[in-house]
């Protein structure tokens, strides 16, 4: 999965021609560590349909502020460069798959 930063956000998310999912985490957040492999697996399943990124919130506070992220993990889905939906906290693979499918 590609890494997103405050510097690369605009180019990677705003200008993407396909939906973009961003997994916002911090290194030492246990629910983030549990969610990470699930999102990683889904990134392979949706290759070519949805672009997946992960972003460390502690290292990239500017983008976190932009989307009012207060808890982590937060997962944001962008369609046409705009926020389509987001969820907070740990979810199952099936829940995330259904969430993506209902938003793209």
């Amino acid at each position: 999965m590609n890494i997103l930063t405050d510097e690369t956000f605009e180019g990677s998310v705003k200008n993407s021609t396909i939906p973009v999912l961003v997994d916002i985490y911090t290194e030492w957040c246990p629910p983030c560590k549990m969610l990470g492999p699930i999102v990683e697996k889904l990134s392979e399943e949706y290759a070519g349909k949805v672009e997946f990124f992960k972003m460390d919130l502690d290292k990239n506070p500017k983008t976190g502020n932009l989307f009012e992220v207060d808890r982590i993990p937060t997962v944001v889905l962008f369609v046409n460069g705009e926020v389509k939906d987001k969820f907070i906290g740990l979810k199952s693979e099936e829940e995330i798959r259904n969430w993506i499918n209902s938003n793209i």
């Binding site: 290194e27 030492w28 957040c29 246990p30 506070p61 976190g64 992220v69 207060d70 808890r71 982590i72």
Partner: protein
């Protein structure tokens, strides 16, 4: 790490909670708290964004101001350290 686990355990017992039975999760949260203490001076919750405003961030020093409501509602705090 063991000292903070013990303190958290004693706090949980005093409130009628328990620490998460999954030791890996407990150690993960405690490690996160210690890393944030080292980097930012307090044991700020690793599952919440820091604002950078010390007064505002007092709310997320573990145990944070949200944990009681979260445990009542979900059975565990958002970061999964304390459980009912």
């Amino acid at each position: 790490m063991e000292k903070l686990i013990k303190i958290s355990e004693e706090y949980a017992e005093s409130k009628g909670y328990k620490l998460n039975p999954n030791r890996a999760i407990v150690e993960g949260v405690i490690k996160g708290l210690l890393v944030r203490k080292e980097n930012f001076g307090e044991i700020y919750c690793p599952c919440r964004k820091m604002s950078g405003n010390k007064e505002e961030d007092k709310k997320i020093i573990c145990p944070c101001i949200y944990h009681e409501d979260e445990i009542a509602k979900d059975g565990h705090c958002f970061c999964n350290l304390f459980v009912k």
